[in-house]
Symmetry: C2
Subunit: 245 residues, 2 copies
DNA sequence: TAAAGCAACTTGTACAAACAAGCGAGACCA
DNA sequence: TGGTCTCGCTTGTTTGTACAAGTTGCTTTA
């Protein structure tokens, strides 16, 4: 592990442990540098990690301040329903309801960076959390990954993990659009809610390490089952609000 | 403006302009350094900005890749409905429907880091976008800022801006929980939708520069009016998914 | 022909030094 | 008393250097 990651970990633990309560000041860079016997730049890099996690606030001239003390979960959760579920102590399940190929629509072609009409693989999955159906996933896979997807077990728990083990594919980057929609007839039936009841919708496009789009998906969560949590600050944010589209 | 910010801006413009199309490689650090006549460290800092914005993907050993070409909007939007609206070319409006003091509930006390029962100011606002009601804000302000809030114009367009101008308060940090809920009777009446129709809910807690909680709020958007957009990557993320709470 | 391995290239980590810029508290002055 | 000013402290920016580690394509080898 890198030196700065180690220092970041120590500081994070200290904050979570309560050594640095919320609202109090963190030690200065100089002090941390001497304590960890590292250069100031290395300490800055470590603290930057905590700032990015939203645990620490920083502004020029003033000592840094502890903002939170909850461990923020790592990325994979956002793409892997199963891994997220496990990390919060729940059991994920999945079931493929439909899987077929068809020509891509123009909008899908744009999102997947392919030529319109090129064949894609459409998969509809119902996801459960501790047995309860909570999520309908309608995913469109680009043609080049379709064969590997079709080979997956229909009841496969973690698509992300299986694809990584099978072909070394990593879902490295994602763009997400989040809004609320009313449940359609199929949504309602699958999730066991009334038609028109609120669902949390997440439309995402996922990209491989090399920047190649892999899939785009329309995921709908039953209201009350899942909450997205985001931290932001005036310096460095990754969240944007957009007009409906 | 700092040197690295300038370089980041130049690169961002070049990407948006299409000089570096999506999926292509960015110039190497060495080349950028010589082009901008800056040290490698400075270039790295510049690129880090774009990586944080989700425009560029990076991994050790390989050239950096352009992932997106849309300008990501700056932070203020997330707290300031008005400034966000203006930036996307719409006109924001606001109207205070109710404003009164009452003792804080235990949960509010925790979120605002005050003693339970301490008085808070509750404000209900209806927000419009180009005349259309799109958002009901139910905000709870900590006592220490309440006087300044009460002095605001009830039809005030940007609370954020007014409070900054009045008392120099900056909404520096925020934590946000996003989910979907059904419209209650009051929500439905105010937003002009049917009871039970889907709303996008954003519960937030906002903190001042000094790390002092200022307000917590329950904001509900009419479905279709607003979409949250998030970019993430395996390295460095700020988004977390949580079980319903 | 296909796998293994090497070599050049590129990004990541770490250290050191110097100056810039913002903050906060105490000193000073009206 | 109340405001202003200055000075020390702390974080932000920039440069330079050296080495570590991952990627990629080419070469070598079986």
């Amino acid at each position: 592990m890198a030196r700065y990651e180690h220092i970041a970990g120590e500081l994070r633990d200290a904050i979570i442990r309560g050594d640095h309560p919320i609202g109090t000041q963190l030690p200065t860079e100089a002090e941390l540098a001497s304590r960890f016997n590292a250069a100031r730049g290395t300490v800055r890099q470590a603290v930057a990690v905590l700032v990015a996690e939203g645990l620490v606030g920083t502004r020029q001239g003033a000592r840094r301040i502890v903002l939170g003390s909850e461990r923020s979960q790592s990325f994979a959760e956002l793409h892997s329903f199963a891994q997220w579920a496990r990390s919060v102590g729940h059991q994920a399940g999945g079931l493929v309801l439909d899987s077929h190929r068809r020509p891509s629509t123009p909008s899908e072609a744009v999102r997947l960076a392919i030529t319109p009409g090129e064949e894609v693989l459409v998969v509809v999955r119902l996801r459960r959390l501790d047995g309860e159906p909570v999520l309908v996933e309608r995913t469109v896979y680009a043609n080049w990954i379709a064969p590997a997807v079709e080979k997956l077990d229909p009841a496969c728990e973690s698509v992300t993990q299986e694809l990584y083990e099978a072909v070394g594919l990593v879902f490295a980057y994602g763009e997400h659009l989040i809004d609320a929609v009313a449940a359609g007839a199929e949504d309602a039936r699958l999730l066991g809610v009334r038609r028109g009841s609120p669902l949390l919708r997440q439309r995402r496009t996922t990209t491989s390490q090399e920047g190649r789009p892999v899939e785009c998906s329309d995921d709908r969560y039953r209201a009350g089952s899942v909450t997205f949590s985001i931290r932001n600050s005036t310096t460095a944010n990754s969240l944007v609000r957009r007009a409906g589209d």
